[in-house]
């Protein structure tokens, strides 16, 4: 059967199980859009291509499926770059289709031409320029395969218009032979044995886990392992939800804005078992003093992440699930039991740190505290919402005060730190889970970076809730300027902001506002119950800071609890 490019496109996507595309049309992809129209292929029209990429990302992070977006050549393609780089840094499986000018005009600075494979080479796991119609189906299959296998990531496929307009004999793509074979990521038995020996001998062991647990669907195995060994757990920003945030062994997030007790545990542990994290500088603080009393076991699917920032005593290249399964089994066979006395001493010590600096120690006054907004949101949603965040203080407060019990429920740009990520990501998550409560916790700065997607949310009746922690500042920038630049607030005052309630209404959404502490709970309750897109504008204490904080370049042992300790 002879098929044209767009027909092969939709056929292959269906075979890959794609349920929805996030996109924005343009000249180079009109043929594909025509096919989408004819077939009524599920598609969400965003208002900016960055929104399409983040929405596909949010869809992928919340559902575990590959997110797909489709945009036109040139500016359409370049507009996705921030979204692609965001997904790349956080290992999110995504396939991005970009239109391209016709093959003969590639390289001639044709209208709306951009060398998008060149531009995205450093921020994609792989990318393709399709040169022949015969290669189309296979390339799409390979793109999906690469995006989801191993350490996942975004893959871009560039589609020249003339190639898409041509036709070829279509072969069922399950008969296509891919150029790749499924790699195995099983742990080396000897190294695993050595790791277990260390675990058995450790007096003050600690688990530090990252996004790899969630991507590798290893949360149950992690819980089993932690409970068997009674080892306390801390997780990086990307790992929030990998371990229940209400579990007695849970320590919260470590690092620059980590909890005091997670940071103290890192400084004092004698063994650190690290799984699926790349040791970001935001986690380690000064690396030379990081976990300096501990032996380090590092399990990761990506060999390049091991020994990159922190040297491991036992490096294990493996996916999180296989490694944890094998360790759990081994411990069962050995009838492993912890040394109760040592374990109690260690957990008591941690309890002492917790009591010394609990998260709830922020002061409340007559202004709304951002922390309180999130705590109330947690209470009202019973911790069962999908939370997306923007970047800045709003992100850190969300990470600290919304206690994530489930994987795939915290969507945040950890690696790239992209303002403007949260709202479109929330749209993507709401598309994946129409019946769940999906909330974007935003700053007044970040929300303005992709505010146009309000039209998308309203258009598709997606009841996303936006909680703006409105402090009239680029808050996190202001905090750094306060602490490290003697309060010279250079270009961080954004109090000239739109009336978010009116703005919501202008887009056809619902706008609510709270300016006093006693309005927080009623406003949230009301907003959560409205089955529409809702913008909730909370006017919070303007100069509230995120604490604890470790000054950049210093060691985790110097975790400060309030600003007076920092200057």
């Amino acid at each position: 059967m002879k098929l044209k490019g767009p027909q092969i496109f939709t056929k292959t996507l269906r075979e890959e199980g794609v349920e929805i595309i996030f996109g924005f049309p343009g000249g180079a992809v009109l043929d594909i859009y025509d096919q989408i129209y004819k077939e009524n292929f599920p598609h969400i029209l965003v208002r900016h291509e960055q929104g399409a990429a983040h929405a596909a990302d949010g869809y992928a992070r919340s559902s575990g499926k590959v997110g797909v977006c489709l945009v036109t050549s040139g500016p359409g393609a370049t507009n996705t770059v921030t979204g692609i780089a965001t997904a790349y840094m956080d290992s999110v499986p995504m396939v991005i289709f970009t239109g391209q000018v016709t093959s003969p005009t590639i390289g001639t600075d044709a209208f709306q031409e951009a060398d998008i494979t060149g531009i995205t080479r450093p921020c994609t796991k792989h990318n393709f320029l399709v040169r022949n119609i015969e290669d189309l189906a296979k390339t799409i299959k390979e793109a999906f395969y690469i995006a989801r296998s191993g350490r996942p990531g975004p893959v871009l496929v560039d589609l020249p218009k003339d190639i898409m307009q041509s036709e070829t004999e279509y072969k069922e793509s399950n008969s296509l032979k891919l150029s790749f074979t499924e790699p195995k990521y099983l742990p080396d038995a000897k190294q695993l044995q050595q790791a277990l020996e260390l675990i058995k001998k450790a007096k003050r062991p600690l688990l530090l886990v990252g996004g790899g647990i969630i991507l590798g669907r290893a949360t149950n195995e992690l819980k089993e392992f932690a409970e068997k060994t009674k080892i306390p757990v801390t997780a990086t920003l990307m790992g929030l939800g990998a371990f229940p945030g209400t579990h007695p062994l849970w320590l919260g997030m470590p690092g620059m804005h980590g909890t005091y007790y997670a940071n103290m545990a890192i400084c004092n542990c004698d063994l650190m078992i690290t799984i699926g994290t790349r040791f970001s500088d935001r986690v380690t603080g000064k690396t030379s003093t990081f976990a300096s009393n501990a032996k380090i076991i590092h399990i990761d699917i990506d060999a390049a992440s091991i020994n990159k920032n922190v040297l491991a005593d036992i490096p294990i290249i493996s996916d999180a699930k296989s490694a944890l399964q094998e360790m759990n089994q081994s411990l069962d066979q050995d009838h492993f039991a912890v040394n109760e006395e040592e374990n109690k001493k260690w957990l008591d010590q941690i309890a002492e740190w917790k009591a010394y600096a609990p998260l709830t120690s922020y002061s409340e006054g007559d202004k709304i505290k951002p922390q309180k907004v999130i705590e109330t949101l947690y209470k009202l949603t019973k911790g069962e919402a999908i939370i997306a965040t923007e970047v800045g203080q709003n992100q850190m407060w969300s990470a600290l005060y919304y206690h994530f019990d489930y994987p795939n429920t915290f969507l945040s740009s950890g690696g790239l730190g992209t303002m403007g990520y949260g709202f479109p990501a929330a749209i993507g998550a709401q598309v994946a889970f129409p019946d769940k409560t999906v909330v974007d916790i935003a700053g007044d700065g970040s929300i303005q970076m992709n505010i146009q997607e309000l039209a998308t949310a309203v258009n598709y009746k997606l009841p996303v809730k936006i909680v703006i922690l409105n402090n009239g500042y680029l808050g996190m920038v202001r905090q750094w300027q306060e602490l490290f630049y003697e309060k010279r607030y250079s270009h961080s005052d954004i109090s000239q902001i739109p009336d978010f309630v009116k703005l919501a209404e202008a887009y056809g959404a619902v706008g609510l506002r709270a300016t006093k502490p006693e309005e927080v709970e009623p406003t949230l309750k009301k907003g959560l119950n409205i089955p529409n897109t809702v913008v909730m504008d909370f006017h919070v204490e303007r100069e509230e800071g995120v604490f604890p904080m470790v000054k950049p370049g210093t060691s985790l042992s110097e975790t400060k609890l309030k600003k007076e300790e920092l200057s």
Partner: protein, 157 residues
Amino acid sequence: MERKDQTITFLVNNKPDVLARIAGVFSARSFNIESISANITMNPEITKIIIVTRGDTATVTKIKNQTKKLVDILEVSHLKEKSSLQREMILVKVKLTNENRGKVMEIIKDYNCRLITLEANHCVLEATGNKNEVKNILKRLERLGIEDLSRSGILAL
């Protein structure tokens, strides 16, 4: 750890973009490429790329791990200086005068160079050798007047 020349060979699919991807890893991670050579292998679908970079063994491990992740890379190996063979080729255009003519011919003989062209005022010679040999040839020729020079990337087995 000691920083020195490190030779890394890559077997890759002979596809467009592969070299750019490898070079991209070097530049994105702040590693310099001192020398590079590339050509197809006995199998025309597979290209061998040989890159010399400066760094310690940890640098090499990082490069290996980062490049192994690239889709079209089939194999990455680090060639140890002692157990590998390294050669490069130079083409040198040398000024010829009545005074230096004899000396140039002497060098050609000493190092087994090939005389490619010989004209009244200059000649072009070709030489291959390891790093030291090439260095020595160039040192001696330099005194006599090098007009132009091309060096290939390092070849290694």
